[in-house]
């Protein structure tokens, strides 16, 4: 699996197809995050923006290989593991992106709640922000896995489904990402930053299920 992940990561890096989503994420942050603003609010925004970006990264990774090259790899390690490697590579890239964004946002933001009423220690804020970013990366990867090949194969269906899925995952009540983000936003109002452990567990389960379903389906759909 390490060799597969290394191959997929190298493919993603060298193809330079990671640039558009990363630039989009940087633009999101540039618009929504200002230095010296309440830290938890900014972390919530950074986490929410990570979700659609992750879904896009998944789309890049699962469509990055020409079908014949995909078949060569799948013959060696099996189609399930080959597809799982695509999904995990995208997830790892998104986690890396989310972690660095969380660190940057924490460092440039003010350690206060909304209206500068309560002091929020930066470490405490980061401890709440990192799992929230992780929840959003996981859920974005789940949306990407279920809205792209092998589940939806035509671009005309996959792209709208990815966008819609990512939007719903951020705003729909009951979604772990929505819970984690709104936890940060309300925490910014009260000054108490809760670590979103329950949403994290739920997101991990959902994503594991989505990855398993998508990988299982690879050998069963037409190429």
């Amino acid at each position: 699996m390490t060799a597969l992940l290394r191959y997929q990561a190298d493919l993603l890096l060298r193809s330079q197809r990671w640039l558009p989503p990363v630039i989009l994420y940087a633009a999101f942050l540039g618009i929504g995050v200002r230095g010296g603003e309440p830290v938890l609010n900014s972390l919530g925004y950074a986490a929410a923006a990570l979700l659609p970006v992750t879904a896009w990264l998944v789309r890049i990774c699962v469509t990055g290989e020409p079908p014949a090259a995909r078949a060569c790899v799948a013959a060696v390690r099996g189609p399930v593991r080959a597809h799982l490697a695509c999904l995990l590579t995208a997830l790892l890239a998104a986690v890396l992106l989310g972690m660095s964004a969380t660190v940057v946002v924490t460092l440039i933001s003010a350690p206060v709640s909304d209206g500068h009423r309560v002091h929020v220690p930066l470490l405490r804020a980061a401890a709440a922000g990192l799992p929230a970013a992780l929840v959003c990366a996981l859920l974005g990867a789940a949306v990407g896995a279920l809205a792209n090949r092998p589940v939806l194969r035509s671009t005309g269906r996959a792209v709208p489904a990815t966008l819609l899925g990512a939007l719903l995952a951020v705003v729909l009540t009951g979604s772990p990402a929505q819970a984690a983000v709104s936890g940060l936003v309300t925490g910014s109002q009260t000054g108490r930053a809760a670590v979103p452990l329950l949403p994290l567990a739920a997101a991990a389960l959902l994503t594991a299920a989505a990855f398993a379903a998508a990988s299982w389906l690879t050998a069963r759909r037409s190429p």
Binding site: A68, C72, A75
Partner: protein, 306 residues
């Protein structure tokens, strides 16, 4: 959704355990699509060559994808999980690697570490006459050169099952001959090779099981061995007392004649004589090669034989 596969019957006793077995396998694309293949039974044993024939669009590629376990069958079951390598008929060069970089990655996926993978990749590129393109980006390779990369990626892992979907298409003459030699080496080393090729002369003279895909089913063709195309090299060998020919060598030879106690005169297609000699010299205990007569030489004088 596909019903869960039924447990497969235990394999029957056979002289060689099959490395892959298709039992009553069917495949269709989509839930209500027409059946591309149905009721296919096929056993692939180690060290054998299997030729799949059929007109365009009959489902040969679908069958090969099932054999390489790229696709799961819609019905029936596939048993056996040999280490497999697959060569597609058209290999796209739209990959952001150099030829050597791509092959090194594939070698590492095969389980090698980086150094040996890179060395093996360079060796295989050299064998197919593409050594000069090792550092060339894949996007700039010609069709034939990228096909050489596709063939090299399949061979560098020493697969137990090699699946070739018209792998010869686009290769130059030297590379075609090299691929035939590589296939002979694989089968001599106990690997199974399944191939589709529209050239009836491809790998002629090598004992192969022939199957034809017709009307969505698979038929065994008889008259498996076509006469050897091209020149035949005669090799005289002496083995250990009451020694039997190594299996790899016996498969390669088109004629075997025991001339004296322990002495054999083997006829082998010239393209595979190297592989035959290697099989004999690396056998345990090794065989003594008395004489190699190139194709076209007059038959040996019986009196001069040792």
């Amino acid at each position: 959704m596909t019903p869960p596969p039924e447990p497969c019957p235990p394999p029957r006793d056979e002289p060689r355990a099959p490395c892959l077995r298709l039992a009553d396998v069917g495949r269709r694309y989509g839930i209500r699509g027409p059946w591309v293949l149905r009721g296919v039974d096929l056993t692939v044993a180690p060290g054998t060559l299997t030729r799949i024939e059929g007109a365009n669009g009959t489902g040969k590629s679908t069958l090969l994808r099932l054999l390489a376990r790229l696709d799961a069958p819609t019905e029936g079951c596939v048993t056996g999980r040999p280490r497999t390598a697959y060569v597609p008929e058209r290999f796209p060069s739209a990959l952001p690697f150099t030829a050597l970089g791509y092959l090194t990655h594939l070698g590492m996926i095969d389980g090698l570490s980086r150094g040996p993978a890179a060395r093996l990749a360079a060796t295989w590129l050299e064998r197919f006459g593409a050594g000069a393109y090792a550092a060339t980006p894949m996007a700039r390779l010609s069709k034939g050169s990228s096909q050489k990369v596709a063939v090299a990626q399949a061979l560098l892992g020493d697969p137990e099952l090699l699946v070739l979907d018209e792998a010869w298409t686009g290769l130059d003459t030297a590379a075609r001959a090299e691929l035939e030699r590589a296939v002979a080496e694989r089968t001599a080393a106990g690997g199974a090779v399944v191939f589709v090729d529209h050239d009836p002369g491809r790998l002629a003279g090598v004992p192969a099981a022939r199957y034809a895909v017709t009307g969505g089913g698979l038929e065994r063709r008889t008259g498996g061995v076509s006469p050897p195309a091209g020149p035949v090299t005669r090799v005289t060998v002496r083995g250990p007392a009451d020694g039997r020919l190594p299996a790899g060598a016996a498969r390669l030879a088109v004629s075997v004649e025991e001339t004296a106690h322990g002495c054999h005169l083997l006829g082998v297609p010239a393209a595979r004589s190297d592989v035959l000699l290697r099989a004999l010299l690396t056998a345990r205990p090794p065989w003594h090669v008395v004489r190699v007569e190139p194709a076209g030489a007059p038959p040996p004088d019986p009196g001069s034989r040792p």
